[in-house]
């Protein structure tokens, strides 16, 4: 097969090498496991670049990082917050404000590996979608976390939060933490398609809100080349975010904060419709 020589959009899919069709996925997995690896370097190899976990950590015995959602709950619970926690939360919030809040989901969160695995398997098994609660449920749950912390004075959500439980289990010792991993996996496999990350997780919802204005976005740049194959909708964890950019007549930028910037649509689109773009400097083709 030869590549199209003209500048017209190719109508027949060009066969791209497999690594090009998986490149963002591979990078994402490298980021997820790499970050986990950095946290495990201490307990396993005695190299303490990172200490702590996703709730709060210290890097190179110098830079504090902390999860803004947990710090917010803690502040609501006890009415006090240290400058260290505030600085750490500010650094993390600033980072995700720039690159997209749900980059946390697709590039960092260890639960994403579990829910992606469940989704992969349920696709192979051709299981029906199952329970489909409204996607806004996660926002309600996020609000509940804040209200519950305020009313009880305790970090109620942290008793069951799979995100921190799973990562802590991996970094500080598993205990019965594997039951949480299994529960999330089975829920996504048997109860609800993309159920946890797509409909329920309040942590993801919080980061989604954090990234609503982020400059780094995916753009359906070459949307005229779209052949309606539906591959991007199939693979996207939040398919509702694609339509306005791909099928609409307005901006080509995927503006919804729900988009995780996972880049999976860029990977799978046979017609190279998608690319990463800088939202505020973006120029549509032509």
């Amino acid at each position: 097969m030869s590549a199209p020589t003209s500048s017209e959009p190719a109508t027949a899919p060009v066969t791209r090498p497999w690594w090009l069709r998986q490149r963002w996925l591979l990078l994402r997995r490298a980021s997820q496991f790499g970050l986990l690896g950095l946290f495990m370097l201490g307990p396993w190899a005695g190299i303490w670049w990172a200490k702590g976990n996703l709730a709060a950590s210290t890097w190179f015995d110098l830079v504090p990082l902390s999860d803004p959602f947990i710090v917010l709950q803690s502040w609501l619970a006890v009415g006090a917050v240290t400058s260290t926690a505030l600085l750490g939360a500010g650094l993390i919030a600033g980072f995700y404000w720039l690159v997209g809040g749900r980059v946390f989901c697709s590039w960092v969160c260890p639960v994403n590996v579990i829910t992606d695995a469940a989704h992969w398997l349920r696709t192979r098994l051709r299981l029906p979608p199952g329970w489909r609660p409204q996607r806004s449920l996660r926002l309600w749950l996020a609000a509940m976390c804040l209200v519950a912390a305020t009313l009880t004075g305790s970090l109620v959500w942290e008793l069951v939060n799979p995100v921190t439980l799973v990562q802590r289990a991996l970094v500080f010792g598993v205990g019965a933490g594997w039951t949480v991993m299994l529960a999330v996996f089975l829920f996504d496999l048997l109860v609800s398609r993309r159920g946890w990350c797509g409909h329920l997780c309040p942590v993801g919802a919080f980061y989604g809100l954090l990234g609503t204005a982020s400059p780094l976005r995916v753009a359906a740049h070459a949307r005229e080349a779209c052949t309606d194959c539906g591959d991007c909708f199939e693979v996207c964890p939040e398919p509702q975010v694609i339509s306005p950019a791909l099928r609409g007549s307005g901006t080509r930028i995927v503006v919804s904060g729900d988009c995780t910037n996972c880049g999976r649509c860029i990977d799978v689109c046979p017609d190279d419709v998608f690319r990463f773009a800088q939202r505020y400097r973006y120029r549509p083709p032509g």
């Binding site: 702590g52 709730a55 210290t58 970090l155």
Partner: protein
């Protein structure tokens, strides 16, 4: 058909939207209430699980501690550990069991220094002011020294502030002369060294949360 299809659709849409909102709010409130009652249970923990030095009172601690484990990492004696999911302690919170590894009462209190939150009180700069609990001689019928089995001073020897927090008091009773390990509660930090070193198989001296032990008594016995 209908005269104002759009406005009717709009009204129907709004009704559906409201209904779904109420549904979601109801479901989420239910989850919230379940979690809150679970949190209530999670407030209690086994008496053998002691919090690190400088820990706020338990109620506040559970709101302030973000469960990061930085205190655990900086403890040079591996005293502290994070509760994992399924333990009868709020998951992710730090604790230690004195009989396993007690607190060595570090001069520089690295655990408190490492804590990024208010959970471990930075105002604690002198480890002797720490209050992780208070030692109580629970085995008055097992302690080798009290029962006269031998001249044991295991707990007394272990105490980092012996002669202040713990003394061996001479006691005479019906012609029997023996020494009673005696804890002075104002000075005791609850580090658990005594409990860890007690020679009796089931420690005859144990650190208990101070709330379980009366405040208004100066020391055991005497």
């Amino acid at each position: 058909m209908a005269d104002h299809p759009t406005s009717r659709n709009f009204a129907a849409d709004r009704r559906r939207f409201l209904a779904r909102g109420v549904q979601a709010a109801g479901a989420v409130s239910l989850v919230g209430m379940l979690l809150a009652s679970h949190a209530e249970q999670a407030r209690s923990r086994p008496v053998s699980a002691l919090r690190p030095p400088g820990a706020l009172p338990e109620d506040e601690f559970l709101g302030a501690c973000v469960r990061c484990g930085l205190c655990v990492r900086d403890c040079p004696y591996d005293t502290l550990r994070l509760a994992s999911f399924g333990e009868p302690i709020a998951p992710g919170t730090p604790y230690f069991v004195a009989r396993d590894i007690p607190c060595e009462m570090c001069e520089d209190i690295p655990c408190v220094v490492a804590c990024p939150t208010t959970a471990l009180d930075k105002n604690l700069t002198d480890i002797r002011e720490a209050d992780m609990g208070v030692a109580v001689v629970t085995g008055t019928d097992t302690c080798y020294s009290i029962t006269g089995v031998g001249r044991c001073t295991g707990c007394y020897d272990a105490c980092p502030i012996k002669d202040e927090a713990i003394t061996m008091e001479l006691k005479q009773e019906g012609g029997r002369v023996y020494f009673v390990p005696t804890v002075h509660r104002e000075q005791c930090t609850g580090c658990g060294k005594c409990e860890a070193d007690c020679l009796y198989p089931e420690a005859a001296i144990k650190v208990l949360p101070r709330a379980l032990v009366r405040h208004d008594v100066g020391s055991d016995f005497v």
